[in-house]
Amino acid sequence: MTVPGAAPGAQPMRVIVCIKQVPKAQELQVDPVTQTLKRVGVPSEINPPDANALEMALLLKDRHEAEVIVLSMGPTSFDESLERAVAMGADRAVLLTDRILGGSDTVPTAYALSETIAKIGGYDLILCGEETTDASTGHVGPGIAGHLDAPQITYISELQIVDGKVRARRTAEDGTEWWETTLPCLVTVNFGCNTPREPTLTGKIRVKRGGVITHWSCAEVGIDPKKVGLINSPTIVAKVDTVKLPPRSPKVFSGDPKDTVRQLIDALRVDGGILL
């Protein structure tokens, strides 16, 4: 699918930020019956890397004329995060919400979000967080780029628009890369590369006035029901085991540091093969 850019030049650049609402990392609980993530009653937040992507979009908006649209897919409880995003400075939000999407893995998710981006009517730049804290795959961003046939630059910490082109600083394992590409394109943003701003009073008032979030169903977007949901996802979670850490019988020393350190070093030397 090729979705055109949003009328380059004539209008402000359109930036779409894909976000997911996730349970706060320290609150993660598995439902022993359904073996899925317990979401009810667990405090939620914008997936932290997505908050960095949103901040990057808002920084662009501070410097250039840009319209920032936040996009998510999930239950209507995600409105909480979308409202926060608007209160932080996004122009508006779109939530793709439909029961038939439940249980979608990364393939239908990337497909459904691509279709929704087309329905929004094009884009110049899409930003996604590098991965989510609840599923940790990092597959949806590149998946959207694949569906949209758009250039992609992943794992970036900095983005500039220079002469209508995108320049992005990417972190690889062995160094830093600066890449250049054309608009429209998709980037994924490194966790922790900036400090997401707090919601502003003006932003909160905009949210309170209402009308900042659009809800769409699959039918409204034109999503093929045979391509989404649990049964149309290539992967399934067959079962979940509790992690059994390798049995270790710790020897814990306490007391005077001189003694405890000597005991530790002796123990490590006795184990052999140790370089100390």
Binding site: T106, G138, G175
Partner: protein, 361 residues
């Protein structure tokens, strides 16, 4: 527009593939590590193991890598493939997969491996499981892809029953590299996939390699000295660096220490950082969130220094010291210096050489 998924008879899909990723210095070690596991899976399935090497002038890599246990290497040679880029690599992999129909494709979960896998699985509309730590074959012959889930609190068994190929990524150091057998023979096949300049949609302007001045990388070190929130700031990491230098190891950090801005992200061990499996993992001032365990629990010996005897990390430790790290670490440095025959240096004396700080890396 992506094509809709056409269900095919999955018995047509045979063979195990490993994507061989190269950087300028050669093949990534995660690719080599995957050959060992790929060999095991191919033998279990009674099929062949193929390495896929898109690149430019990579024949020497191909000849060498067979010795790790491959039956064959498919090379796609094109100047466009000299440097990893999402679109041309996705095009090559998608085309080869459609042509040969492998049943399993394994990728290293490096930045480029994830970049490629994520785009490719959407284009092929097939399953991809990220960061697997173990594989099995289920009774129906499916690949059981086992990965940490929910922040490492549990292990999820992912199956891709109807779609082929079954794809998975694995982080560096999850599997051990197989021994190299230079007498092993295998086939080298050259295939072509049509690429043009139109497939080049990104351009590398600059590459700045991380300097080696900071010493060993934690992923390569036999001893890792990791600091956490208990250090309270950037400065105490200098002390950890000194200890690591004495022990011939490398410094790493927990996410809390990284998030606090004390050390760079590249030193982070854990779910959103790197995975290490050194001979000794010395955790200093790290309480041990499950996300941290995901990155270090395979270490041979885990040593924990923490003032809180209830710190969760003690539960998986081999040795521990309960106490003040600001007393224990300097004492360790003193005793190690003595053991190594160095003159004990009073802590008040200036260091004889400027100490490297991990912060400067």
């Amino acid at each position: 527009m992506t094509e809709g998924h056409v269900p095919e008879d999955k018995s047509h899909f045979r063979g195990v593939w490993v994507f061989l990723e190269h950087r300028k210095y050669g093949l990534r070690d995660v690719s080599i590590q995957l050959i060992g596991e790929g060999r095991r899976l191919a033998d279990l399935r009674g099929t062949t193991l193929t390495g896929i090497l898109p690149g430019h002038a990579v024949e020497a890599h191909a000849r060498h890598v067979i010795g790790y246990g491959l039956d064959r290497v498919i090379i796609v040679d094109d100047p466009i493939l000299g440097l990893y880029q999402s679109r041309p690599f996705t095009k090559v992999m998608a085309e080869l997969i459609r042509r040969h129909k492998p049943e399993i494709v394994l990728f290293g979960a490096s930045k480029n491996g994830r970049d490629l896998g994520g785009r490719l699985h959407a284009v092929l509309e097939t399953g991809l499981a990220a960061d697997c730590v173990k594989f099995d074959i289920d009774p129906d012959g499916n690949l059981d892809m086992i990965r940490p889930s929910f922040g490492g609190k549990s292990l999820a068994h992912i199956l891709c029953k109807k779609h082929r190929p079954q794809m998975a990524s694995v982080r560096r150091n999850v599997f051990v590299a197989p021994p190299h057998d230079s007498s092993r023979t295998g086939e080298i096949v050259r295939e072509s996939v049509e690429l043009s300049e139109r497939d080049v949609d990104v351009r590398l302007l600059e590459f700045k390699e991380f300097t080696k001045e900071g010493g060993l990388r934690p992923e390569e070190a036999d001893i890792v000295v990791a600091g956490g929130y208990g250090l309270g700031g950037a400065e105490p990491f200098t002390m950890l660096q000194e200890l690591a230098d004495l022990a011939g190891g490398a410094v790493a950090a927990s996410r809390k220490a990284v998030d606090s801005g004390w050390v760079p992200k590249m030193l982070q061990v854990g779910q959103t950082g790197m995975t290490v499996r050194p001979k000794i993992y010395l955790a200093v001032g790290i309480s041990g969130a499950v996300q941290h365990l995901a990155g270090m629990q395979e270490s041979d010996k885990i040593v924990v220094i923490n003032s809180d005897p209830k710190a969760p990390l003690f539960e998986i430790a081999d040795y521990g010291i309960v106490g003040d790290l600001f007393e224990i670490v300097p004492e360790m440095i003193r005793q190690l210096r003595t053991l190594k025959g160095m003159a004990a240096v009073p802590t008040t004396a200036p260091a004889e050489a400027p100490r490297r700080s991990p912060v400067a890396r």
